[in-house]
């Protein structure tokens, strides 16, 4: 990818998001809120892809970073009671950034002890960290503990969500598609060979965690200001697993695939929910056969996961063609 063109594309994308946001200024529709979920999940999946997909560190605690970012950003913005829109924008950006930094610190704390661990162990430890963060948040009464925390300002909109998603995608891709970035993949492929060519596996693994966590934190901040209410339970390992499934489905280390998977997997439960509510359409009775879909949504989801791994473990959306010598 051409260096200058990438930056121009990014700026264009962000500008477009800004324009769309102005156009949709007073729109409150259900689907707009669904789109925020899509954007947030894109950020989460793409950032996790750096850790899991490119660097090969199997992290099951991404939701913990999200939680750190969400609470940090919410606490900061809740201190602000004015209504100056320009100031609001600046404060929001600052709060999101602070949330990202808090989560990045979390990434550092998780990344360093887990360096020597492989595969399954790493998965459980990262899951453990996620749980520890959840339990700690449940014990902080200042942010509501288990009862949750109210977020005063619902500042998340199309611009912030998709603008930041565009930045996330740019950063991850720019990072990986450089000589420096080849190091991530080298570390995943063969740590020992990577060391032998001067690559420091520790530094790459920690970098992956920190950068991945940073964006997860920002996604958390966006989430908090979209839902207006956050609680520790919403950031449990079920959430982490949801994000992991997006990365697996999209193909580890395949950013376009992961984005597509994030979109699809966000829409899937929404679609199933709406399908289940189909009795609200005239002429269809409440006993319509598809109403069971809503209840079995998670069962279908888990079966899909099993079937996917049994049949196409490299992911659904792997488009890369491999050339042979």
């Amino acid at each position: 990818m051409n260096f200058h063109r990438a930056k121009t594309l990014l700026l264009a994308a962000v500008a477009l998001c800004f324009v769309i946001s102005l156009v949709l200024k007073n729109n409150q529709s259900y689907w707009l809120y669904v789109s925020y979920d899509i954007g947030i999940n894109i950020i989460l999946a793409v950032s996790l892809n750096l850790i899991n997909g490119y660097t090969g560190q199997f992290s099951l605690g991404h939701a913990g970073f999200m939680a750190m970012g969400a609470y940090t950003a919410a606490v900061i913005t809740n201190q602000f009671t004015g209504s100056n829109p320009a100031l609001a924008g600046a404060i929001f950006l600052g709060a999101l950034f602070a949330g990202g930094l808090a989560a990045a610190a979390g990434g550092l704390i998780v990344g360093i002890p887990t360096l020597r661990l492989r595969g399954d162990y790493l998965a459980i430890v990262t899951l453990g960290f996620g749980e520890i963060i959840r339990v700690i948040l449940q014990n902080i009464d200042a942010v509501g503990g288990p009862r949750g925390y109210s977020v005063m300002h619902s500042w998340t909109n199309f611009f912030w969500t998709f603008g930041i998603a565009a930045v996330t995608i740019y950063v991850i891709l720019a990072l990986v598609h450089s000589t420096y970035g080849r190091g991530f993949i080298a570390v995943q492929d063969d740590e020992i060979a990577a060391s032998a060519v001067g690559i420091n596996p520790t530094r790459y693994k920690v970098t992956a965690f920190v950068v991945g966590a940073f964006f997860a934190g920002i996604a958390g901040g966006l989430y908090a200001h979209a839902k207006s209410f956050i609680s520790p339970d919403g950031f449990g390992f079920m959430k982490s697993i949801e994000i992991v499934v997006m990365v697996i489905l999209g193909g580890m280390g395949n950013t376009p695939g992961v984005i597509l998977a994030a979109v699809l997997l966000t829409l899937l439960p929404v679609g199933l929910d709406n399908l289940g509510d189909i009795q609200s359409l005239p002429g269809i009775s409440a006993d319509h056969p598809l109403s069971w879909v809503k209840d079995t949504r998670m069962v279908i989801y888990s079966l899909l996961l099993i079937v996917l791994m049994l049949t196409r473990p490299q992911g659904l959306f792997v488009f890369k063609k491999r050339t042979t010598a």
Binding site: D120, I248, V299, P313
Partner: protein
């Protein structure tokens, strides 16, 4: 002092249940080097099996009674052994040659499936587990509140551990299990039927998890489809603490976590109780990754 004893007994009971589950994890990991994420949910199925079997058994045997308890537990263990074997055969075996990540994700899928199918068929609300054995408080020791159910946990766990030890050390299949855990290829070359031994291991581990499920339900009669999640994770931490792949280690790890957890639960830090197992996990991986009783693994370059 009585406070301490009280917590100790509670902790031992809690730890015994974790130990039984941990044994299943460690056996499977020892042979296949893979964490069976769905194992905690087999624990849950065991409890529900007991829940649905008890009324049927009540037609033949007086409940609550020791015999009813034994029969329910045996049937539940058998059922879950079969479940474990089926899961291995259809979800894990096809992926034996695939990268580890694939089977890990599949295990997560199986786990989610059991949980949500459970919610669908058993209902998400907690159910009350029927009394299958007589639960009476034990009086006589002032200050201590012990129930017969806690004694049952300890006794049954010890019995099962003895049986397990016998199987692993004194039977042919036990020897095959040990051989596989050291070197699968060599074992296969020596005529060990790998598939059968692996199936047996899953069955055995699942049976122990089922026993743990019944014992848990006898002590804490509220059961629900997601009850296996946290105990499953904690039991895995226990297995790692003791040294993954090491059976006495898993039992030891379970007891330690059970006791520490109970003491924390009785102290000012009680709301952090659920995080203790993970904190211990992280600590042991930092200090001695091979676990308390485990040996180091060396990679050849």
């Amino acid at each position: 002092m009585t406070e301490f004893l009280q917590q100790l007994i509670n902790g031992l009971a809690d730890g015994s249940i974790l130990a039984l589950i941990a044994l299943g994890y460690t056996m499977v990991y020892g042979i296949l080097r893979f964490i069976n994420f769905a194992h905690g949910d087999v624990f849950m199925i065991g409890a529900f099996a007991g829940f649905y079997l008890t009324p049927k058994i009540a037609a033949f045997l007086p409940t609550p009674s020791i015999w009813a308890g034994v029969v329910v537990m045996a049937l539940s263990m058998a059922l879950c052994a079969v479940l474990g074997i089926i899961i291995e055969r259809f979800a894990y075996r096809p992926l034996r040659r695939s990268p580890k990540l694939a089977v890990l994700i599949t295990a997560i899928g199986v786990s989610l499936f059991l949980e949500y199918a459970g919610q669908l068929f058993f209902g998400a609300a907690p159910r009350s587990f029927p009394q299958i054995i007589p639960v009476k408080p034990i009086t006589g020791i002032p200050g201590l509140t012990i129930n017969t159910s806690q004694i049952v946990v300890l006794v049954v766990t010890i019995l099962l551990l003895i049986v397990l030890r016998f199987i692993v050390l004194k039977t042919k299949i036990g020897m095959a299990m040990r051989a596989l855990s050291f070197n699968p290829e060599a074992a296969a070359l020596m005529g060990v039927n790998t598939d059968v031994v692996i199936s047996f291991t899953f069955g055995l581990g699942s049976a122990l998890a089922a026993a743990a499920g019944i014992l848990y339900a006898v002590n804490f009669p509220a059961i629900d489809p997601l009850m296996g999640v946290l105990p499953g994770l904690k039991a895995f931490c226990a297995a790692v603490l003791g040294g993954i792949g090491n059976l006495p280690g898993a039992a030891l790890g379970g007891l330690i976590i059970g006791i520490v957890e109970t003491f924390v639960g009785g102290s000012e830090l009680s709301t952090y109780r659920d995080a203790i197992a993970f904190a211990i996990l992280i600590l042991i991986l930092l200090i001695k990754p091979s676990g308390l009783l485990g040996k180091k693994d060396i990679e050849k370059v």
